[in-house]
């Protein structure tokens, strides 16, 4: 008795309920005024259908969770099961073979005991399947029938359905929120485990990052924080802020409408390029070019993976982000400001420099903060182009590493789950999460306040 079949049965009952409810409601005497039926026939139909389906589905979800345990219990009580070895690994292997066999899979090296248990398993599964089907169908029928009896011309099926829909929507949004909370909680929990081994002060202020050294490693994260800021908040922003702002100014103030229609979507395509593409562009094209350039200039410490390569490409990736925020902010400055300045005899560029950009600045700053929070959380480009060496250097031609790169590094490959190395990844993730969260909150505040100023 597959769950799919039970679902089909419930669905069929719900459809039947819909028609039954509608038919009953359609037969209500037609009246006008206060005696008029409160809801449309189809709304009565929906009421019955929901009552048929919802309790049965909830039951099915619970049932699906408990049935494996019940089945296993039954199998273990069978006489053949007494021959099972006591050693847990072996025992589990035989049981899982038996289960697979009962589900119709074939396998080469079969334990003899598994074959005899498989039939017991199959029988138990079938029985519980039947019970499940019967209970679900009964519940669906009972729910639908109860709902059906409640229908009357005065019954407010419409309001009820509305309430149920609202509940379902609320449930959907709660799932998203609870998932986020769960992730944060696990991040927090694992980080606490990490901090019970490594002092938070050493972690936050230590300047030596060497997770592989010794038994426990050394976890001073300052070089990582520096690398992240150097690439994401300094080099990338040196590229993205001027280019993004200038392109926004061109698009809002100078571009003829036709050019704007073409250029804006093209610019936004930049935001749609997968970051892995930027990553290999950075690693294969930009990084070698920069190293060659540094070598011809004779700059020491130039490596094939450089902060500059990752930062430049990340800056390009962020341009559309900054530009569209700046575009919105400049467009939100009232036309009367522009007119006022032009009427004073200011040129367009003076007007932009002295009135529009200062007036739009809070919005632009908010956009930049959001862009920074995106840049420091960005992973692919830095993994491919920034390198792994935890250097504390301001030389853009040398290799630095970032928080995200190290998280990837710590979690890939074979690791015991509770080694300090693995747990360090959670602590890094927590720091990253807190920083980007704060950046986002501040940025949204700034942008919102600025919006209000002109409304």
């Amino acid at each position: 008795m597959t769950p799919g079949f039970i679902l089909l049965v419930i669905l069929a009952l719900a459809v039947a309920g819909w028609f039954a409810g509608r038919a009953k409601a359609a037969a209500f005497p037609r009246a006008t005024g206060a005696a008029r039926a409160h809801s449309l026939p189809s709304q009565h139909g929906w009421f019955v259908a929901i009552w048929a389906a919802a309790p049965a589905l909830i039951f099915l979800a619970v049932w699906a969770a408990v049935v494996p345990g019940l089945t296993l219990n039954e199998v273990l009580r069978a006489p053949a099961a007494s021959a099972l070895p006591a050693f847990p690994m072996e025992r589990a292997a035989i049981l899982s073979q038996a289960r697979a066999l009962s589900a119709g899979q074939t396998m080469p090296e079969l334990h003899p005991l598994a074959a005899s248990l498989a039939s017991v398993w199959g029988a138990a599964a079938t029985r519980y399947g039947m019970i499940g089907l019967a209970l679900a169908a009964l519940l669906a029928f009972a729910g639908g029938a109860w709902a059906w009896t409640r229908l009357s011309p005065r019954f407010r099926a419409r309001t009820r359905v509305e309430r149920i829909v609202m509940g379902a929507l609320l449930g959907a949004s709660l799932i998203a929120i609870l998932t986020t909370l769960g992730i944060v909680a696990s991040l927090l929990f694992e980080s606490l485990r990490f901090f019970s081994r490594v002092s938070p002060l050493d972690f936050l202020f230590g300047t030596l990052w060497s997770p592989q050294s010794g038994d426990e490693g050394t976890f001073g994260a300052v070089p990582l924080f520096w690398g992240t800021i150097f690439i994401g908040a300094i080099i990338a922003m040196l590229v993205a802020i001027p280019l993004g702002l200038l392109s926004a100014i061109y698009l809002t103030q100078y571009a003829p409408p036709a050019a704007r229609r073409w250029l804006k979507p093209i610019l936004e395509v930049l935001a749609g390029v997968p970051t892995v593409v930027y990553g290999y562009f950075a690693a294969l094209t930009v990084a070698p070019a920069i190293r060659g350039f540094a070598a011809t200039l004779g700059i020491p410490g130039a490596s094939s993976e450089s902060a500059l390569a990752a930062g430049l490409v990340m800056g390009v990736m962020i341009i559309p982000f900054v530009s569209s925020m700046a575009d919105d902010s400049i467009a939100a400055v009232p036309q009367s400001m522009r007119d006022g300045s032009l009427a004073m005899g200011a040129t367009t560029s003076e007007t932009i420099r002295r009135v529009l950009v200062p007036a739009a600045l809070p919005g632009v700053v908010g956009g930049v903060l959001l862009a920074v929070s995106r840049a420091i959380g960005e992973t692919m480009i830095v993994v491919m182009a920034a390198g792994l060496a935890a250097n504390l250097t301001a030389n853009p031609f040398s290799s630095v590493t970032t928080v995200t790169t190290q998280i990837v590094q710590l979690l890939t490959g074979d690791q015991e789950f509770d080694s300090a190395k693995t747990l360090a990844a959670f602590a890094l993730g927590l720091v990253l999460f807190i920083v980007t969260l704060l950046l986002n909150i501040v940025a949204l505040r700034v942008v919102k306040k600025y919006r209000e100023a002109y409304e």
Binding site: S336, D339, G340, L342, A343, M344, G345, A346, A359
Partner: protein, 269 residues
């Protein structure tokens, strides 16, 4: 007055016994294919305040904006005819529009101070035109302009506060101070009081009286009493044409055209 009979058309459009500061001849304005101003000729005198009145949509703002070429900022707008300032054609290629707008200032319907300090608002024009030779000089210009706009006593202790944090009437006087800080010769005002309460309006009207003679002033207004109070010359526009132009007292007591009379007595508009 010798050409009085010769140029019948222009006769009524002359600013009587007042040297013309700006002269418009046969001006047409189009927005795309639509004509908003039709063959308007008018003189704006130096000594008098000139009021433009007329029903909504008749082209008062449009015509006013031709006088400092603000219509250049509307891409669909096209102006033909001739407009001179002290005899120089302001639409000729030699005319520098930046220079023109410094000489012909404008105050808008809705107060539009920049989101900067009061001081910086007034200093804006002198700064972009390089009129002040130092901090002390700029301070003097700011003070003089605010005094002329009748705002100095109210704001002298809070010059560093934002210009947008003042009352509407104060903001509008700040905009007037901002306009006169560059020592313009003409000031155009497009319904400068329509967003203000009666007390603030009275202050602006008083200010216009004080500024009269120092600057040529043109004011667009929907308020007949205001036109009668502040102006010496009144021009009545209707459907893009200049119907009648004359002494304010004449226009309001004894209009020559029935359309003017109907409008003034409130029969339409």
């Amino acid at each position: 007055m010798a050409d009085h009979s010769l140029n019948d058309m222009a006769a009524g459009q002359r600013a009587s016994n007042d040297p013309p500061k700006m002269e418009a001849r046969n001006v047409d304005v189009f927005y795309g294919a639509k004509q908003a101003i039709k063959n308007v000729s008018i003189d704006v005198g130096m000594e008098n305040v000139t009021a433009f009145i007329g029903p909504s949509g008749c082209g008062k703002s449009t015509f006013l904006r031709t006088l400092n070429r603000m219509n250049d900022t509307v891409s669909s707008a096209r102006v033909t005819g001739e407009i001179t300032l002290d005899g120089d054609d302001i639409y000729s290629p030699e005319m520098d529009v930046v220079q023109l707008r410094a000489r012909v200032g404008m105050v808008f319907q809705k107060p539009n101070p920049f989101p900067k300090s009061i001081y910086e608002n007034v200093a804006y024009g002198p700064r972009i035109h390089g009129l002040a030779s130092g901090k002390a000089d700029m301070d003097a210009i700011v003070e003089k302009s605010l005094r002329r706009a009748g705002l100095w006593d109210e704001v002298k202790d809070r010059l560093s506060e934002s210009g947008t944090a003042m009352s509407g009437g104060q903001q509008q006087r700040l905009c007037i101070a901002r306009a006169i800080a560059v020592e313009p010769e003409v000031i155009l005002m497009d319904e400068p009081c329509s967003a203000l309460d009666p007390i603030a309006t009275a202050k602006i009207e008083e200010l216009i009286h004080e500024l009269r003679g120092r600057y040529a002033i043109v004011i667009v207004t929907h308020n007949m009493q205001q036109a009668a109070r502040v102006s010496q010359r009144t021009a009545f526009f209707h459907l893009g044409t200049l119907v009648e132009y004359g002494d304010t007292s004449e226009i309001f007591t004894n209009p020559r055209e029935t359309r003017t009379k109907d409008y003034i007595t409130g029969r339409y508009g």
